[in-house]
Symmetry: C2
Amino acid sequence: MARDLVVMKFGGTSVANPDRILNASQKAAKARRRGQEVVVVVSAPGDMTDELIELARRVSSKPQGREMDMLLATGEQMSVALFAMALQAQGISATSLTGGQAGILAEGAHMQAKVSRILRGPIRRSLAAGRVPVVAGFQAANGAGEIVTLGRGGSDLTAVSLAAALGARACEIYTDVEGVFTADPRLVPTARKIRALGYDEMLELAGAGAQVMLPRAVEVAKRFGVVICVKCSFNNEEGTWIMKQDRNAAGAEQAYVSGVALDRHLTQITIAGVPDHPGIAAAIFGELASDSIPVDAIVQSSAKPDKTNDIAITVSRSRSKAALAALHRAARKIGGKKVSADDACAKVSVVGVGIKNASAIPATIFQALAAKKINIQMISTSEIKISCVISERQAQDALRALHDAFGLGKAARPPGRDPS
Amino acid sequence: MARDLVVMKFGGTSVANPDRILNASQKAAKARRRGQEVVVVVSAPGDMTDELIELARRVSSKPQGREMDMLLATGEQMSVALFAMALQAQGISATSLTGGQAGILAEGAHMQAKVSRILRGPIRRSLAAGRVPVVAGFQAANGAGEIVTLGRGGSDLTAVSLAAALGARACEIYTDVEGVFTADPRLVPTARKIRALGYDEMLELAGAGAQVMLPRAVEVAKRFGVVICVKCSFNNEEGTWIMKQDRNAAGAEQAYVSGVALDRHLTQITIAGVPDHPGIAAAIFGELASDSIPVDAIVQSSAKPDKTNDIAITVSRSRSKAALAALHRAARKIGGKKVSADDACAKVSVVGVGIKNASAIPATIFQALAAKKINIQMISTSEIKISCVISERQAQDALRALHDAFGLGKAARPPGRDPS
């Protein structure tokens, strides 16, 4: 069904107080007056989720997930009511809906439920009546009629899932930044806003530390081909489009770099002197998986003259203690000699289509880092990303050096990348 | 079904912050450990409802009822989640439930819905599983699955309705006062806590300005014979029982005064020179009813020599403008000569079983007021109440004089009035 329907999602900073809610609602009202069908998704106001978590901590050292969900869901419920009132005050017919009322069903554990199904009836009825449905993000109902939440940043997931289910023309994500940048502008002053990029690039940038959108939401958008636009709620600037890129467009065969990203919060753990035989990596991953510790990267050196390897992994620093314990267990099983950890690691990543096969790109990376005397501790690559683990102390220098080396601060975008 | 089930309702001051929630939850935990089945009903924390109303006012000058209900319901939802966590932290199995989840159905306009039905299944299942259901007061679901609220103080109504539906042994109302007093202790320092009183006396005291319990809730309790106990959540003092009084008990034929009450916020409006013929009162009430203005009292003087009457009513001061306009319209229709209003009125009431027929009681009232040189502007009576409208300036003096005149500050209670 071809229809001019847009899903507009407003994050916590965009609905932090009544003035901001009024401001955000004007964007939705404007789209509605242009004749578009509009579905709004909102997060909890500002820091409310953190404040609720603190309240819970004061009554219980270990609150149960079911009750946390009941508590946290009040934030978005407050936002939808106020947002709908703000639309009504501008003469726009609107209806607030909790996640459950909007037909968003989820399953799985409390506080990390997964959207299982969207009943389109409630929102379609609201749209058919000429109203703007204002839907609470982050929350859903489970099979028992309980309130469940989708994990932090789940409002993005609500917005993209609704856009997919309703066949929306686009899903607009309003936030406190102007879009996706070639690097974090707080770290690299010459960073430029990216006009458009593909889902995989966005995923790699997000995974590499660009905190614009929840990766889960980008994955759902990719699967269902939802066109996303990340925009700032405080101005009317063009944002960043995240959508399927047309590889046949002029210039698309050419490799190009979209952006650079930094993850400062890594710990590198090394097992030295591991006997060189098959199954070593499997043993290490097995220990980490049994504690549900996600591994950022794993690198195995080629065997040394004594027929042993050094194996290094990087993990999020928040999980470093658990990971170290798991690797001590693994070392005992596989006969490693020594386990050591470096808590002061960072990872710089260069992201762009085709860069793995464009030999000039790795060369440029290593030259740029060498010129700044930055030692590379680990390298990992994907189709569209090259990451280097370095000392955290040099992280910002490395990011700027790479941003400059690829001319991201000033170069014109390659052709064929505008949204059609 | 005879079962040892108690409904415990905690008001806003009792759950205003995490410490108070912990304190309140200890009372429920104690009852549970004694082996009682416990259903908890909670209000929104402290001033949250007022804060939410202020937020709404800042986004809309005239928020719609549906959205106000969506907004206000977050207060109780927050309370139930935190209260259930607090119980769990003490090792008591508990489940928080929104009004809708608890099976409380209502109909009628938003913000003033009426409980239409209680589906007992959800709470019974929770009790059968050994859990304490913690139910959000004040809110319900309507036939369309929307959130509706029951009007201010609606949490009392939720508690009493649940106690009736579940056949509870008692409904305990925890609040910030120790019970129902012979007079407002802030105005009459010698006021004593009443140990037990009947539903009608409680209704008259509530209607006469004693703000302990919502009259609607007392009416439901009366209809279904729910035994209420009003208690303070900050100590372990015995509270006040509100229950069917045994008229056959010793001394029950004797009239006695339970308490005195004051309503400071009244406006008296008089239409002078109304021709003396039938239908006058009907015309006046008709105009007031068409604007939904509740009338506190109406008094018609006997006809004067010129065959005209003066007719006076009292209304809540918050509705005085609308009432004045209605009475101007009425005066034009019925040929009244002059409409005047006195905004500085108050009403003192003496409440007790049998007082209407005990001539000594009115005599005592009028002597006590006369001794303080307090002029009585209007008198109205019911089976168990005598009210006098006086100048607001003399209100506190009048209240103390009546409290003293009936020896309420020191007299022992009449026999036969203990809860059985």
